[in-house]
Amino acid sequence: MNRTWLSKRLLPLLLIAAGVWQLASASWILVKAELSQYLISRAWERQLHAGEIQKPWPWADTWPVARLKLDQQKPLVVLQGITGEALAFGPGLHEASALPFAQEHAGNTSVRTTVIAAHRDTHFRGLEKLQAGMGVQLQARDGRWQHYRVLGTKVVDSTRETLPISDRPGLLLVTCYPFGSLEAGGPLRYLVYAEPVPDAAVIQL
């Protein structure tokens, strides 16, 4: 009797509960990604006005550093750091890299590659659509936009290669690969490299 009860009632219930839990947690990731972007972009707007760093919510351990626009897609606000917590809320700026604007007021040739990473299934879903020649824009804290042109894309094995950060300006967008894959934590990474376009060369449409 016990076995029948187990198999008839409990097992299906357990399975359904687990399923609902998985569904909820997956949806939560998506909802969190969307909602936080809303909050963060508000913080970004405030920051643009105030000129000081504004945390999107009081207990946040990261803060917005730039706004990124991939081609014609919806703009995303980039956060400082690439820890798991930061990436859950938005694209993150790699600590070893730097924004193109930070060095400019130093009045020197101090330049580094800008590396921005995000999850392939949340914010960087649209990375797949970027192709050579498309435009990417990055907005600084002072409101100026830096324009980039996509040079190409590449897939690398992260266990064998390191991030190509050097003392050249450029934007490197990183996300996981393959895009539709079910398993997380695979070794492949999808890179989009864009080179800066001088302001004069940008044609306003």
Binding site: P12, I16, T109, P164, S166, Y193
Partner: protein, 820 residues
């Protein structure tokens, strides 16, 4: 006897009643859960395999088809991997090191040649690692036959002179101290294709431990982890009273950026000079393929002692013996890649092992004399009672420990665990971005606890940051006060020391040490020796270093000897009356087994080396017994020409003043008095460094050529000369982040689980509908109406399938309902 006892009776085929569908239904009702499970698992496996295969296909296709970035013109950048066309350093570097060992001091000359391989005028910026006790006292630019001698100036002034010379197109070089073991070397205006060498000269006191002298020369560094908050936030949080910024030399956090554009980390609230100490790193293989970063070493060992043994643990060396017990040591093959520390050990023959060494030197400017002393305390004889110990092992599992380092650390830790006694107590703390204790408090070293600890240690892996401060605090506060006096308390700290906030950590050790003694085990090919030795010094412990997996046994053995043997305590050195003495260290530390008494002093009032000099008495206590040794000062030969000991003394005094600065660090600035003391200490260091011509936190070397070489129409480009990634390490700074939230996987699992759950719940209904469907499709022999159905039924009936073709009448008689 294989025959069955009751052979089964033969049953006539005609009498056989074949099972009906009802029979099967009942028979398999019991195990249906199993079959469902089997079904689910199979489906899942098939689906996953299919999806995986598709993903794999896609990835391979893409990886091979889109490598065309080099063609697009950014090849320089994207390919720091193994492929061709990687980031090309504009400047090549080669190093020639010449060491002269005299007395207890090595005089080292490092000549670094920068070759400009580009078509532009260049400024080279290089982070130069040096030994932590180096007294840097010379810098010259060498262009062909010409030499431009550098001078010591106040830091700000030197920088100004250099910046102006650089702008004016003059050749110039600047050497700034960032940490006691880390300097920034800059050379401006290197013409295209030109070679310019910078020679740095320094003095280094030899290490002596367990009858063995040793010398360490770092050639690269492990990238430092920079804790704290970056960028503009630093100003904001600096105002908060919680986080007092580190009292690094009060220097240039903002405008400095203009001069040093090559740092990789931005300054943070805890490490205001982060950009100076995190150079651009490149894998050695990359650099070697361009012929850059090779180092040649020549050592002239002239101690005047016959040696029993010379060896270098990480390099192959050749040596030659000359007259007067001089030895010439060189690298086998001439040069070696600059990706690991060069270490040389040598051991005098037992018969001529010195028990004391004393060197004196006449000061050049005045009547004072300098004295350097090394003395071996007596060996302790007989067995001693082993005191129970309480040891907390702290192991660094940060990303910089990845690769060989973590293996060395684990091996050392396992060895240490096996050494514990049942009466000892222990605990383990691992730390990276966060720290984790094995037990909340130290536990007894029982077999079971040790066993569990071993398993735990085996499971450790290296990732994340190096937040050392909280782990250190935890380790120093773990030991309970109640057992004070009964237990010997020790903390063993296993790390590569790759942190930028050394001073803050030293402060923590100083404030919280209590009765504990802190020992450091340095790990890796290029550890931060400054951190290792200073932490052990403040922690009243000792430091060992493991650079190779094969060294674990020997070096840990040394550490255990120190941990388990009694100390030499209450040490003092007495000079004859009338001598005015300023000696360093001010307070002689307790000595562990094999360590010598060392002192460097400036003496005034009475000359040494004359018959009236008297004698010097060293006394102390070992295992409860007092001992004393005396050395006559009257026969001492005083060197009239040299100035080495003077420089070493000045360097030791600077270190002592820096320690005082640190002790007062947190108070300085809050009170007017603190500020004044701070200011006076800085002033003392400055005067000392200028007087003895030494590099210090407040003084730098600068050399400028008179005539400009670069015309103003040509621009100067500044390039960082990378440091090689230390052998056996991963370049953690540039690892890819993990960028998948796993949403699809979760959705898929959710879908499967829901389907299964719902399927099980509605099983009865499903089974019914499936059965109905099957009934509709598969003809039932019992309801055959047409000829075709009869034929099919006959073909498909179980009996037919089982025994092949049977005559139709047999079927007809046997299965009821076929004949209407």
């Amino acid at each position: 006897m294989n025959r069955p006892l009751f052979p089964s009776p033969r049953i006539e085929r005609d009498l056989l009643i074949l099972p009906t569908s009802e029979y099967y239904r009942r028979r398999y009702r019991k195990s249906r859960v199993g079959s469902w499970l089997l079904f689910t698992v199979t489906t899942l496996a098939v689906l996953l395999a299919a999806v995986g295969a598709r993903a794999e296909d896609a990835s391979q296709a893409l990886a091979y088809e889109q490598v065309a970035l080099e063609d697009a013109g950014s090849g320089d950048l994207l390919l720091v991997g193994r492929e061709a066309g990687a980031f090309e350093p504009a400047l090549h570097l080669s190093t020639a090191v010449d060491m002269r060992v005299r007395g207890l001091v090595a005089e080292v000359q490092i000549a670094q040649t920068f070759t400009n391989t580009s078509n532009h005028w260049r400024e080279a910026v290089y982070v130069l690692p040096l030994p932590e006790n180096a007294a840097v006292r010379g810098m010259e630019i060498v262009i062909g036959e010409r030499r431009i001698v550098g001078k010591v100036r106040e830091r700000e002034e030197a920088k100004k002179v250099y910046t102006e010379a650089r702008a004016a197109g003059k050749r110039a070089a600047l050497l700034e101290q960032q940490r006691p073991n880390m300097f920034t070397s800059r050379v401006a205006n290197i013409a295209p294709g030109e070679k310019i060498a910078v020679e740095v000269r320094y003095l280094q006191t030899l290490k002596f431990d367990r009858d063995q002298f040793s010398l360490r020369l770092p050639s690269t560094l492990t990238p430092r982890y920079i804790p704290g908050v970056q960028g503009e936030l630093s100003q904001e949080s600096a105002q908060e009273p919680v986080q007092e910024p580190v009292q690094e030399p009060v220097q240039e956090p903002v405008q400095e950026l203009a001069l040093n554009p090559h740092g990789w980390s931005l300054p943070t609230d805890q490490v205001p000079d982060a950009q100076h100490i995190t150079p651009f790193m490149m894998p050695m293989a990359e650099l070697a393929s361009r012929g850059s970063h090779q180092m040649s070493i020549h050592v002239d060992l002239g101690m005047g002692l016959p040696l029993a043994d010379i060896y270098s643990p990480y390099h192959e060396v050749d040596f030659r013996r000359q007259d007067g017990n001089r030895y010439q040591v060189q690298l086998k093959g001439g040069s070696a890649p600059m990706d690991r520390d060069f270490v040389l050990h040598w051991r005098p023959q037992m018969s001529s092992m010195p028990s004391a060494a004393l060197f004196a030197e006449q000061s050049q400017g005045d009547s004072a004399q300098y004295l350097q002393l090394l003395l071996l305390p007596p060996r302790e004889s007989g067995a001693t009672r082993r005191l129970p110990r309480e040891v907390v092992y702290v192991v660094d599992t940060s990303g910089s420990m990845g690769g060989n380092s973590i293996r060395q650390a684990k091996e050392s830790l396992l060895l240490a665990l096996s050494r514990l006694d049942a009466q000892d107590r222990f605990n383990i703390i691992e730390f990276n971005s966060h720290h984790r204790s094995f037990y909340p408090r130290p536990v007894t070293a029982s077999q079971e606890n040790i066993h569990r600890a071993r398993d735990w240690v085996e499971s450790l892996s290296a990732t994340g940051g190096t937040e050392m401060a909280p782990a250190l605090k935890e380790a120093l506060s773990q030991q309970l006060d109640e057992q004070a006096g009964e237990l010997v308390r020790q903390v063993v700290f296993i790390t590569d020391g790759a942190v930028g906030n050394e001073r803050a950590l030293f402060e923590i050790i100083q404030q919280r040490l209590g009765q504990v003694r802190l020992f450091t085990v340095g790990i890796g090919s290029a550890p931060n020796s400054h951190f290792m030795t200073k932490a052990a010094q403040i922690g009243r412990g000792s430091a060992v270093h493991i650079g190779d997996l094969g060294e674990v046994q020997v070096q840990m053995g040394r550490l255990f000897e120190k941990l388990e043997n009694p100390l030499v305590t209450d040490l003092r050195v007495d000079f004859p009356r009338g001598i005015k003495l300023e000696g360093y260290p001010k307070q002689l530390p307790d000595l562990y087994l094999g360590e010598p008494v060392r002192l460097v002093a400036r003496i005034e009032g009475q000359p040494l080396g004359v018959p009236s000099s008297g004698e010097l008495v060293v006394s102390g206590r070992l295992a409860g017994k007092r001992f004393s040794r005396s050395i006559s000062l009257s026969q001492l030969a005083v060197d009239q020409q040299g100035d080495e000991i003077g420089s070493v003394w000045a360097r030791a005094k600077i270190a002592a003043l820096r320690d005082m600065q640190r002790q007062r660090g947190p108070l300085a600035g809050t009170t007017g008095e603190g500020e004044r003391v701070e200011g006076s200490l800085k002033q003392q260091i400055l005067t000392l460094a200028l007087r003895y011509q030494l590099a210090s936190p407040y003084t730098s070397f600068v050399a400028v050529e008179e005539a400009p070489v670069r015309s103003q129409v040509e621009t100067l480009k500044s390039s960082s000369v990378p440091n090689a990634v230390a052998s056996g390490q991963n370049l953690q700074r540039f690892t890819y982040p993990s960028t998948a939230a796993g949403v699809y996987g979760q959705f898929f699992t959710a879908l499967l689980l829901l389907l299964c759950g719902w399927g099980l719940r509605a099983r009865a209904a499903i089974v019914r509908s499936v059965r109905a469907l099957l009934y509709g499709l598969v003809p039932d022999v019992r309801r055959c109406q047409t000829r075709l159905e009869h034929f099919l039924a006959r073909r498909l009936s179980p009996a037919t399938i089982k025994s092949g073709e049977l005559p139709p009448h047999v079927i007809g008689t046997r299965i009821p309902g076929v004949q209407k």
